[in-house]
Each structure stands twice: as C-alpha cells, then as structure tokens.
Amino acid sequence: MDIRKDIQKRKRLDALFAVLGLLALMVGVLTFCALFAEMALNGMGRIDWSFFTSFPSRRAGEAGILSAWVGSTLVMLTTAFVAVPLGVAAGVYLEEYARRNWVTDLIEINITNLAGVPSIVYGLLALGLFVYQFGLGQSILSAGLTLALLILPVVIVATREAIRSIPQAIREGSYALGATKWQTVRHHILPYSSAGILTGIIIGMARAIGETAPIITIGALTFIAFLPPSPLQATPPFLSFEWLVSPFTVMPIQMFNWTSRPEAAFQVNAAAAGFVLVIMTLAMNGLAIWLRYRLRRNIKW
C-alpha cells in the first residue's frame, strides 16, 4: 500500500509538470495566433488581385504592394545567391578541413556572436561599406549583400550542425576506399547533410525577409511607383543584371510606411501587407519542413 501511495505522490508531480509545460507552450502559441487572427481579420478584406498588382498610392483604396513584393523577392534572390555558397563553404571548411586550434576556436566564437549582433549594426556597416565605399548605392544589390551578411552565421551554424550529425564511420568508409577529402565532401558530406543545410538556409531567409532596420539604414525608398528593370530581356544576351543597382522597397518597409499614416484606411493596408508577409514566411518554413522530410527519407545510419 505504501508503494502505491508513493507512486501516486510522485505521479502527481508528473502531472503538475505536464500542465505547467502545456501552459508555457500556450503562452507563445496563443499570443501568435491572436496577433495573426487580428491582422487577418483587419486585412483580409483588402486582399484581392489588384492589391498585388498595384503600386502604392496616395489613395488607400488603390494602393498595392506590387513594388514591395517584387523588391522583397529580388532582394531575397540576391541574399540567397551570396549567403548560400559562402555559408555552406565556410561550414564545410570549418568541419572537414580546418585544424582544431585556437584560431578556429576564435573564428567559431566570432560566428556565434555574429548571429546575435543587432541587425541595425549590419545596416550601419552596409551603409558605410556597400553603399558608399563600394559605391553600390541604395540598391537591391546593397540590400541583398547586407541581408546575406546577416544570415551568414545562421547558414554556417546550420551547415556545421548538419555535417556533425554524419557518423564518423561514413567518412572513414569513404577514406578507406582511397577517396580524397574533396571526394568525400562532394559524394557523402554534402548530400547527406543537404536536408539540414536547406532547413538552415530557409530559416535564415525567413528571418531576412522580415528585416526592416538594416534595409531602412541603407536607404531603401518608402514610396516607389516603378519596378526594377526585368532580368529577362527580349534582345540578346536576354539576361540583364541592371535590376541589381535599381532602387527598391521591401514588404516590411511598405508596412512601416503605411502604419505611420494617420488615415485608418492605410492601417488596413498595413494589416493586409502584414498578413501576406506572414504567409510568405510560413510558406518558407513549410517548404523547409517538407524538403527535410523528402531528403531524409533515404538517409539512415
């Protein structure tokens, strides 16, 4: 009888923690749900086809997010093109090539710290370096490079963690067959870690798409009624990179711009744009989960 009492006493603590844990979880989840629901309720009515195909306007009812979502897409594209190769290469180097000594330790600590630097600091750095020093101006290229710097630590850390989860036995198996380091990285390390790396990249991108401060710092326009030149051209060489140096705006700045207007109609626009932005972020995270599932299906140790 005593044993049963004792078990029950201990199990009560078990149940207590389960309840506390659930409450802790709900604080976060419910807060987000409430914010999201309010934004959706306010903004939903404003979302139609013309909202996506119109430039901003002085009249709230005619204003749209065309320049903002095109800008966001192009900036994200630039960010990915820069951050992915640099981040993955750096991660692979640190895990597979670098010797363990105080220099690598120092680099490691720095990378971890960089992930915690406030984004406005990246904005200031970019303003000095990219915009003025390199003369890239207040362009999509400057913004893409700035956000690439911002998410570089995320990509590096994700790459390293994905690589670290590969058992040493796999590496030894490859080396024992006479493979070089690069062959081992190319044929084993990269394919087997690609799921983790991709997840890291997308989470980094999802963070970058919502960044406002550094983009404002380098001087993105808040009101822009034209699109950057198209990357595809009708005449040879068909590809154009002029869009890289074009002025731009992005989704969060468009939102910010609208929320600072006194008219209530613009607040509705802001809510609608916020809703679209959250959906974009959720879609990216969903893609990350799906890709991870797809890529991990065939990999077991």
């Binding site: 036995a169 030894e172 490859s174 024992a176 006479g178 493979a179 990999i299 077991k300």
Partner: protein
C-alpha cells in the same frame, strides 16, 4: 612451436607485408611498442588480445587511417611487397596506401546510397566512367562476397534495407571491387548474430585465395577458426606470433597461455 616447424610452414610462403619495429603515438601516448611481424600472402593473419591492447590501432596503421586525425605519429616501417614500399614513409600519400589496401569496419557502414552505388564507389573514386566495366566489377565483387544471389534483383534499392550480415558482406564487396592487395578486417562480426558471423567467417576463409587478410578479433575461437597465423598483443606489445594451431595448442609464452585459456583477459 619449434623453429624448424615454423620454418617448414613459412618456407613456401611469400611475405605480403613486413612490419619492422613499429611504434605508434597518440600525441605523447605510446600505443604500440616495437612491433615486428610478417603478413604472409594469401594467408589469414589474426590479431588477438584483450580490449585496449592496441590491436585495432595496429590494424589502422596499415591503411594510414590515423592520418585522418591530428597528433598521431608513426615510427618504424610497414613494408609492402612486391615493390618494397614503406607504407609509413613521409613521402607516401595515405590515399595511395588506401587504394592498395582495403578495410572492413567493426560496424557495417554502408553509405546511404543504393546497393550498386556502394560497391561502385571505389571505382568512381578512381575515375572509372565506363558503365560496362563498373557493372562487371560490381557483379564480380558481389559474387566474391557471396551476396550477389541475394541482391541481384534489387541492386538499386537502398543498402539500408539489407540485414546486418548482408550489410557487412556489402562492405566486403565494396572493399573487394577495387582489387586490394591486402584486406583489413576490424572485428567484422562483433555487431552480428551467430549465423551472420558464421557466413562472414566462411567468406573470409574463401577469400584468401584472392587476397591477403589481416583480421582483428576479440573472439579467440574465431581466430582459431579462420586464421593461419595469429599474433597475441598485450599493452601495445606483440607478445607472441606464430602458426595459429601451434599458438593455440602450445603457446610459448606464459602470458599467451593465460589469455587463451581464459585465466586472464
């Protein structure tokens, strides 16, 4: 065993490799102490000894596995015949050594790729691109590893669908596909059940007509069953080396006798 017996048995044999006064250091720790012994061609040589005696460390010197990690140092020579090449020489690239000497690990470690790609990997590393030659080699290696009949209809399936024993035979096929001169086994059956163990042992026995074999085992019965020569190691030293039957029936050293009779270890 008396000297004339050993002489009689080894007279007709050719040494595939000769270990000469080998020391090995993990940093400052001296893990192997002055080991010398021959490895005869087309024979199975077993390394036995209690855990931590350095037998795996010794085995991993043969394909320079220790070069993958910092702070390791070899002293002495492992001379591979017929070209009299010192595998441990500074100017010898470990990759070259590993292209001549295959290895099978303790736990089956197939790559998360198809059965076919696992066996073909060594060939791909060497830049072989002819689809026909790769297919021939893969089939031959799977035959030699006594696995072909079981997997011939599902070569494109992931290797992880195979059972543990099949995975280990796949790893053997993977090592055989590139025609190694010497094949190293690091306790190849320690993760397998008795039936799979028996099939691997049989395979090792059959393979010696093709390749010279050096096997580490913690299982003395296994050493007695599969090997022609046995070396007993203790605390990084080679205590006794000899013909397997002799070493197990009348060991020369008291230490060896204590170990194989189970009084120690």
């Amino acid at each position: 065993m008396s000297a004339p017996d050993m002489q009689m048995i080894t007279e007709t044999l050719v040494a595939k490799a000769e270990v000469r006064n080998l020391d090995f250091y993990y940093g400052d720790y001296r893990a192997l102490k002055g080991i010398s012994m021959p490895v005869y061609e087309h024979q199975v040589t077993a390394l036995i000894g209690p855990s931590g005696c350095g037998k795996s460390t010794f085995l991993r010197c043969f394909n320079r596995m220790h070069d993958l990690y910092p702070g390791n140092r070899y002293d002495g020579q492992i001379v591979l015949q017929p070209d009299n090449a010192d595998l441990l020489a500074r100017d010898v690239d470990p990759i070259e050594v590993r292209m001549r000497i295959g290895m099978v690990f303790q736990k089956p470690n197939p790559f998360p790729k198809s059965i076919f790609e696992n066996v073909a990997y060594g060939l791909r590393v060497r830049g072989e691109t002819s689809r026909r030659r790769i297919e021939e080699k893969v089939e031959q290696a799977l035959q030699d590893a006594a696995l072909f009949e079981e997997v011939k209809s599902r070569l494109q399936e992931p290797a992880y669908n195979l059972s543990g024993g099949q995975q280990q035979r796949l790893c053997i096929a993977r090592a055989l596909a590139t025609d190694p001169e010497l094949l190293l086994f690091d306790e190849p059956t320690s993760a397998l059940d008795p039936i799979a163990t028996a099939s691997i042992e049989e395979l090792i026995h059959d393979l010696k007509t093709r390749v010279t074999i050096l096997i580490v085992t913690h299982n003395m019965q296994q050493a007695a069953r599969v090997s022609d020569f046995t070396a007993y190691m203790y605390l990084g030293e080679m205590i006794e080396y000899g013909v397997t039957d002799e070493l197990f029936i009348k060991p020369k050293k008291k230490q060896t006798e204590d170990y194989i009779t189970g009084r120690f270890g």
